[in-house]
């Protein structure tokens, strides 16, 4: 037992004193979730859901043209319209309640409706709105073509609100694209440090399967600002985007940690330190448990640290201390522990089946991105019915869902815990068994 802990401690120490690893494990996911999360938070403002003014008469003109990137069509103007005008009359979100918007096809018609006092404010989305927002080789620097806002001088408050909505939505599109950029830069940095990962990443982006997925994050259906949870007491609790983005990013990056942790077994074999351990009077199972346990604890630490930082950021945004993960901290910890176990199990199996550490990096990168994709790290999977069921195969899904539930003040996460611990226990044992067999050659 003492030896297991010594191995665990050694692995924790080496991991948390490695500046590059900390960057990938903590800083990158923190930056990503903060950028995206706070963009959405700006909308909600102070966490309050009191809407003092409702149904601002608004005219919307959309002149925007769609843009094709990597065979996928983008139309942020349309997305904007969808956010303001319900396609389904039963939809009622805070944003839809805020305005009473109707679509005009011509800019001057909208203007005259404002002049006549029929509408208080009109907005005109320019024809090159999407083009100006889209990050591509032709358009490496993003300069937004501004959305014009006309207002009736008699309605200054409404004009101010609409202006801030316009700014916020534009910002989301912008940060969304900035996030794509930042993520890709982070991945490129990793790829440079780790050529095998680079090859894999290169394949993914060349096939065009990588970048477009981010776009879905901006679809109105997936925008978490539309989600409101009713608690039992009937007080409305606003869904905190930091929770959604924070937990899905944390779990995505945790997958890398888990796979890397299991991979360290193969690396230690390559570097002969594993042989040193085996040549010592230490039972094989102790060594294996020490290594896997170390990975597990590393994953738990990573997520706990991330959650603490995200809580601080959430509190800063709200202007007051805020327990963004809900008040049931023990349950949050239980979900973290269970999710980490599941990820470590996946890591153990991936590493146990691979021949070389380089192979683990390639396969592990694919596995982590696949789990992230289907588990909701890049877009809101439930919005796409074709793949929504698949997401249930990922620990990412069960983890983020449990965190969202707890953050909303509810407690029914039993199934999530069982599924996560089950995935974890089974894969952990399978990985252990394969490793044990491989070591006795």
């Amino acid at each position: 037992m003492r030896k297991i802990l010594a191995i665990t401690w050694k692995d924790l120490y080496t991991t948390f004193t490695d500046r590059n690893l900390i960057l990938i494990m903590i800083v990158t996911p923190l930056a990503l979730s903060t950028i995206v999360g706070s963009a959405f938070s700006g909308f909600i403002g102070g966490g309050g859901n009191d809407v003092p003014i409702r149904d601002i008469p608004l005219a919307v003109v959309n002149l925007d043209q769609p843009v094709e990137v990597n065979g996928q069509s983008f139309n942020y103007g349309q997305t904007f319209v969808d956010l303001l005008i319900p396609s389904n009359p039963d939809d009622s979100t805070s944003l839809l309640q805020l305005t009473d918007a109707s679509l005009f096809s011509k800019a001057d018609a909208a203007q005259s409706s404002v002049n006549s006092g029929e509408k208080s404010v009109a907005i005109v989305i320019p024809a090159d709105f999407t083009r100006s927002l889209t990050y591509s080789q032709d358009n490496p620097d993003i300069h937004v073509s501004p959305i014009e806002v006309y207002s009736n001088p008699s309605a200054p408050v409404s004009a101010g609100i609409v202006r801030s909505i316009v700014e916020n939505i534009t910002n989301i599109f912008l940060t969304g694209n900035a996030t794509v950029e930042a993520t890709i830069e982070a991945l490129i940095a990793r790829a440079q440090a780790d050529p095998a990962f680079g090859v894999q990443f290169g394949l993914a982006s060349a096939s065009g399967s990588f970048q477009p997925d981010f776009a879905l994050a901006f679809q109105p259906d997936s925008a978490p600002i539309t989600i409101e949870q009713q608690t039992v007491r009937g007080t409305a609790q606003t869904f905190n985007p930091l929770v959604f983005f924070g937990s899905s990013q944390a779990l995505f990056f945790m997958t890398f940690t888990a796979i890397q942790g299991a991979n360290s077994m193969l690396e230690e074999r390559r570097d002969w330190t594993l042989q040193r351990l085996i040549a010592s009077p230490t039972p094989r199972i102790t060594i294996l448990l020490g290594k896997l346990f170390g990975t597990w604890v590393t994953c738990i630490f990573q997520v706990v640290l991330l959650f603490i930082f995200l809580t601080l950021i959430g509190s800063l945004i709200a202007g007051e201390p805020q327990l963004i993960w809900g008040s049931n901290l023990l349950a949050v910890l239980a979900v973290i522990v269970a999710t980490s176990l599941a990820m470590c199990g996946i890591g153990a199996v991936v590493a146990a089946l691979a021949r070389t550490p380089e192979q683990v990096n390639v396969v592990g990168g694919i596995v982590a991105i696949a789990l992230g994709l289907f588990g909701g790290a890049f877009f809101y999977v439930q919005a796409i019915p074709q793949i929504a069921p698949l997401s249930r195969l990922t620990p990412n899904y069960w983890g983020t869902e449990a965190f969202a539930t707890l953050a909303a003040g509810q407690t029914d996460i039993g199934l999530n815990l069982i599924v996560l611990a089950g995935i974890g226990a089974v894969l952990f044992l399978v990985g252990l068994a394969i490793f044990n067999r491989r070591l006795s050659v």
Binding site: R2, K3, A6, Y13, D271, Q275, S280, P281
Partner: protein, 338 residues
């Protein structure tokens, strides 16, 4: 009284599965007896099976056949007891590069069951022994090759093992550090009474430090004994080397050396092509004729005359007293160097 035998290796064999499914017989039924307190060397060229043999003795590889006992404990049936007696110094620098020397020693000490004040006292002693007190808290990755080698050895000594194996501990270090390693090996024997199992492909160092030597080639022990015994096996032959440059040497001439000159037991011709690293053009061809002969100096005039008659221009001549290189050549018909 303790048995005089420290290590007993019986019919040890290892067969690997090759990439294309065929079997690679890396070790083919090795027998060894290593006595308590001696420096025992396994000498053989790269790929001879030294590391594989040592890996089986230390429990890293399961033998395909056979067994090894350390201090009477079978490595396959009582691995933990056997391993407790054994210190290992792998061929690779088996250390954690981002940990300091002291942290490495600390960690591996724990794996050998050392704790508390005993552990820190042992680490202190080792740090002094390998002469790294000043740098003990620096990361391994900042060390020079020689310093890493010293820590690599130090880790193997932590738990005061009765037996220590060192797999090619002088590979890749400068002559000064090599000297230091060889001195260390002798201090282990003399000051600490350890048994040392040493492997190398360099005959000079083996010749210098070993009490007994086993020569291994293609997975088999082809000769074993003290330096004197091994040299006796080849009948005290001298080794003569003729450098012949780019000239080729016909087999007939080699045969003639053997038949016509008294005392000559073997004559082989080898070419060493020396290429320029980058352009891979042939820079120099070094042809060498190696002749084993009893009383080599006496045979020399006759040999040179025959060469002259065959219009072979001998560029330089070297006569060497019997050594391990000669033993290997005698037994295998090949030079020990790659």
């Amino acid at each position: 009284m303790q048995s005089q035998v420290m290590v007993e290796v019986r019919d040890l064999a290892k067969t690997f599965k090759g990439k294309n499914g065929d079997d690679i017989q890396a070790v083919k039924g090795v027998q060894l007896d290593i006595r308590r307190g001696e420096i025992y060397s396994l000498l053989g060229p790269n790929g001879a099976g030294k590391t594989t043999t040592i890996s089986m003795i230390s429990g890293l590889l399961a033998p395909t056949r056979g067994d090894a006992r350390i201090g009477g404990h079978s490595i396959t049936r009582e691995p933990l007891q056997a391993k407790q007696l054994l210190g290992v110094v792998p061929q690779e620098i088996a250390l954690y590069p981002t940990l300091s020397a002291r942290q490495n020693l600390d960690f591996f000490g724990k794996m050998y069951g050392l704790t508390g004040t005993e552990l820190s006292r042992r680490v202190d002693e080792i740090v002094d022994f390998i002469d790294l007190r000043e740098r003990q808290n620096d990361r391994i990755e900042t060390f020079s090759g020689g310093m890493k080698r010293r820590v690599n050895i130090g880790v193997g000594l932590l738990h005061k093992p009765q037996l220590i194996y060192m797999d090619e501990p002088t590979v890749g270090i400068d002559p000064q550090n090599r000297r230091r390693v060889l001195d260390t090996v002798q201090r282990l024997q003399q000051e600490m009474g350890m048994t040392v199992l040493y492997t190398s492909h360099l005959m000079e160092e083996v010749q210098e430090i070993s009490d007994r030597i086993a020569i291994i080639d293609h997975g088999e022990i082809i000769a074993e004994g003290t330096l004197g015994e091994l040299i006796q096996q080849i009948g005290e032959e001298d080794r003569l080397t003729f450098k012949v440059g780019t000239q080729s040497v016909p087999d007939a001439l080699l045969a003639q050396f053997k038949q016509e000159v008294e005392g000559v037991t073997s004559a082989v011709y080898e070419r060493h092509d020396v290429t320029n690293g980058e352009s891979e053009t042939l820079a120099q061809v070094d042809g060498i004729v190696t002749i084993m002969a009893k009383r080599g100096r006496k045979a020399l005039p006759d040999l040179l005359r025959i060469a002259d008659d065959a219009e072979l221009d001998v560029l330089s001549v070297e006569v060497r007293e019997p050594d391990l290189e000669g033993v290997f050549l005698h037994l295998t018909g090949r030079a020990l160097r790659d």
